[in-house]
């Protein structure tokens, strides 16, 4: 194992590039994007080499810890900064660097007209570096460094066009909601430190057996809170829709393929803790099931193509969290779905980006329609991604989603029926909203040239985008088609992960063929409804009022309202009360003492007349008083 010792370069290269691009500023405007692309491509190659090396050794030796430096040393307390290269982290590293490189390439074309393209690439590199720290770190402390780093990069990129105040607000919203999750991460680390005396993966996981289950449940729940914040799971889901304010490549890379899946990584990585705390595990599954339905329902009513995709991301990550909460039976499936989802969802987002490019940055699908005739490559790649997310065999989504549904149906008692049912229903709704999105955009009648839709901008003249944008779309579409089959049938990907995640065959309460049939029936049903409504019939340009559910879904199922009522307003009342208390009590006490001293001084000041005879009189009177006292006491 030699190349693995160079694993630190995976982080160092994009980080150095980001620093360079930010420090050089405008001087690197002309070539900055190519440097950014290169410093994502080199780590991709390096990750592939490390993977090849890892495949060359036996299962037991695949997990390597690379010590980098002692990070914090205080007495006999040391936090080491080291990388953990094992099948799980290398899978993530590959996903991040390969999809990242494709999206870097896409961004070269997508951001070509933007004067700040270099800064954009600097942030993208910063994101890649942070994300790699997150997945490669060998302790929760280092994971947290990456965790914060991706949060920062996400904030900077969502607010990349911060000259628009609503975009800047969206960035702040994402940042603040992520902070809530980060609090969970910090509490988890403190609890680990108090319980195990370390935040190192190896030490913590080895110490888990024999630890009080209550403590583990608490740690598990706060870890879940952290995961919810990062992965936009209920109840911390509200930021993801607004995060679509960022440029579309950002939505593809950060808010679909990689960063939002960090929560899944955290849960799978901390599997040892969750397995020892069944209560926390059950909460994970519930969160996953609720979110997958939540996202799916929101997705059915959004007219903004990116927000519909964001809702879909939320829902798909719900699947992964659900699978991750099931224990060893689901870990590998969660990661498998994460990888295939990373490909097809990134592809779908890039497709949406190229549609937006053609539509003068319009995102309202009601004004699209029939784009298949003018954007052939985008259409075909998008259609392949659509089939993949629907879970149509033999596209990638089929393999991974089917396994999750099977795992969800495994177990005893009421759980398989509820969670399996949710997963099954989610698959049907997914088909409905993704087909709606696809048909509204690429099929039906063209609605983009109607005079009413021509805004003040230049006339819409949709054309296929340039090669830097089509090539990534084609590669990602190829991944959407074949990756699932290749990873499931071609190479033993699930077995490859087993050394980290453990294994347990799913044992569904219903036979497998029945589950697949049921899923397919629901998917076809969903797609047919969407076809009838949005491809055959004319799509109204103005959204109809819709039922109560539609209106609720359009408003993100009132997620923002709930946050505002439950958290924001009480928080405001609390701050106002505290400010008033501070002004009245604390400041009042301080100012009161000062004012009292001042008043005393003012009154004493009158004694000082400045006349020598007054002072003399005072002295005489004083002497007389002293004399009287002395003589009186002596009698």
């Amino acid at each position: 194992m030699d190349t693995v010792n160079l694993a630190w370069l995976l982080v160092a290269i994009p980080l150095a590039s980001a620093t360079l691009l930010l420090l050089l500023g405008r001087a690197s405007d002309r070539w900055g994007h190519w440097l950014g692309l290169l410093s994502s491509a080199v780590p991709a190659v390096l990750a592939i080499v490390i993977l090849a090396e890892m495949l060359g050794v036996s299962d037991g030796e695949r997990s390597v810890r690379v010590h980098m430096f002692d990070w914090i040393t205080a007495g006999d307390f040391t936090v080491r900064a080291g990388l953990l290269v094992d099948p799980l982290s290398i899978t993530f590293a590959l996903l991040i660097t390969v999809v990242g490189t494709l999206i870097h390439l896409y961004s070269v074309g997508y951001m070509a007209q933007d004067p700040d393209r270099r800064r954009f690439f600097a942030y993208l590199n910063l994101f890649v570096a942070s994300m790699l720290v997150l997945v490669l770190g060998d302790s929760f402390a280092l994971l947290f460094v990456g965790w914060e780093g991706v949060g920062l990069a996400s904030y900077l990129l969502i607010g990349f066009w911060n000259q628009r105040s609503d975009y800047a607000v969206a960035a702040k919203k994402a940042f603040i909601m992520n902070r809530v999750g980060d609090m969970g991460m910090l509490v988890a680390m403190m609890a680990m430190f108090a319980t195990f005396g370390s935040v190192d993966y190896e030490t913590v996981f080895n110490a888990v057996p024999g630890t009080n289950e209550g403590v583990l449940t608490v740690i598990g729940l706060v870890l879940l809170l952290a995961a919810c914040g990062k992965s936009a799971q209920v109840p911390l889901q509200a930021w993801l829709g607004d995060a679509m304010a960022g440029p579309t490549p950002v939505s593809a890379l950060i808010h679909a393929a990689t960063m939002v899946t960090a929560g899944v990584y955290l849960i799978v990585r901390s599997g040892a803790i969750f397995e020892a705390a069944p209560a926390a595990q059950l909460v994970v599954v519930i969160v996953g099931a609720v979110t997958l339905l939540f996202g799916a329902i929101v997705g059915t009513s959004k007219d903004d193509i990116k927000k519909a995709l964001a809702a879909s991301t939320m829902s798909q990550i719900g699947y992964m969290v659900l699978a991750a909460g099931l224990g060893p039976v689901g870990y590998a499936f969660a990661i498998f779905h994460l990888v295939t989802h990373g490909f097809f969802k990134a592809g779908l987002f890039l497709g949406a980006g190229s549609v937006m490019h053609a539509m003068n940055d319009d995102v309202n699908m009601r004004q699209f329609g029939a784009l298949r005739t003018v954007m052939k490559v985008t259409w075909v790649t998008f259609a392949l991604g659509w089939l993949a997310i629907l879970g149509v065999p033999p596209f990638s989504g089929f393999w991974s989603k089917d396994l999750i549904i099977e795992a969800a149906f495994s177990g005893t008692g009421w759980q398989p029926w509820v969670f399996g049912g949710a997963a099954l229903l989610g698959a049907g709704i997914t088909a409905l909203y993704m087909s709606r999105l696809y048909f509204m955009t690429f099929h039906g009648k063209a609605r983009w040239h109607l005079p009413a839709q021509q805004g003040p901008g230049p006339e819409r003249d949709p054309k296929e985008v340039g090669w830097t944008m089509t090539v990534p779309m084609i590669i990602l579409a190829a991944g959407s088609v074949a990756l699932g089959l290749v990873l499931y049938q071609g190479v033993p990907f699930l077995g490859f992960l087993e050394s980290v995640t453990g294994t347990e065959a799913p044992d569904p309460v219903l036979p497998r063929w029945l589950l697949i049939t049921l899923t397919m029936v629901l998917v076809v049903l969903g797609a047919l409804i969407a076809f009838r409504e949005f491809a055959v019939r004319d799509v109204p340009l103005e959204a109809p009022r819709g039922s109560a559910l539609t209106r609720a879904a359009r408003a993100d199922l009132y997620g923002d309202t709930i946050n505002e009522t439950l958290v924001m307003r009480p928080g405001q009342v609390l701050t106002r009360t505290l400010v008033a208390t501070d002004r009245g009590a604390v400041d009042g006490a301080v100012h009161g003492v000062a004012r009292m001293t001042g008043a005393l001084g003012q009154s004493l000041r009158k004694l000082q007349s400045g006349y020598a005879r007054n002072y003399a009189a005072t002295m005489v009177i004083g002497v007389i008083v002293v004399l009287v006292l002395v003589l009186a006491t002596r009698v």
Binding site: Q608, S609, G610, R613, A617
Partner: protein
């Protein structure tokens, strides 16, 4: 001449001196009042020295005279300086101590 006579005389002198300092505005008179008080003290010292039949009180009286002379010199110098700048020897005109 008993001790009481000396003491009463000293007390009268002291009170006259103190009143002069407190009541009169003229700086020169105030200084004279101070001298009067000092001399009342001196009279007491000498009286008790005589009564006890030793010289310590008398020696101390000399010291007081020396100090009084020095004090008068400084006091008069201040009075002259003030008179030159303000054209007045009234104590109440000098209230600069207040600010």
């Amino acid at each position: 001449m008993s001790l009481t006579h000396y003491l009463v005389l000293a007390a009268i002198l002291f009170v006259i001196g103190a009143l002069a300092v407190l009541v009169r505005r003229n700086a020169l008179v105030a200084l004279m009042g101070v001298e009067l008080m000092l001399n009342a003290g001196n009279l007491m010292l000498v009286t008790f020295a005589r009564m006890h039949g030793n010289l310590e009180g008398q020696v101390l009286a000399f010291f007081v005279m020396v100090v009084a002379a020095a004090e008068v010199v400084i006091g008069l110098a201040i009075v002259v300086a003030i008179f030159r700048t303000r054209n007045s020897a009234s104590i109440d005109d000098v209230d600069l101590l207040r600010n």
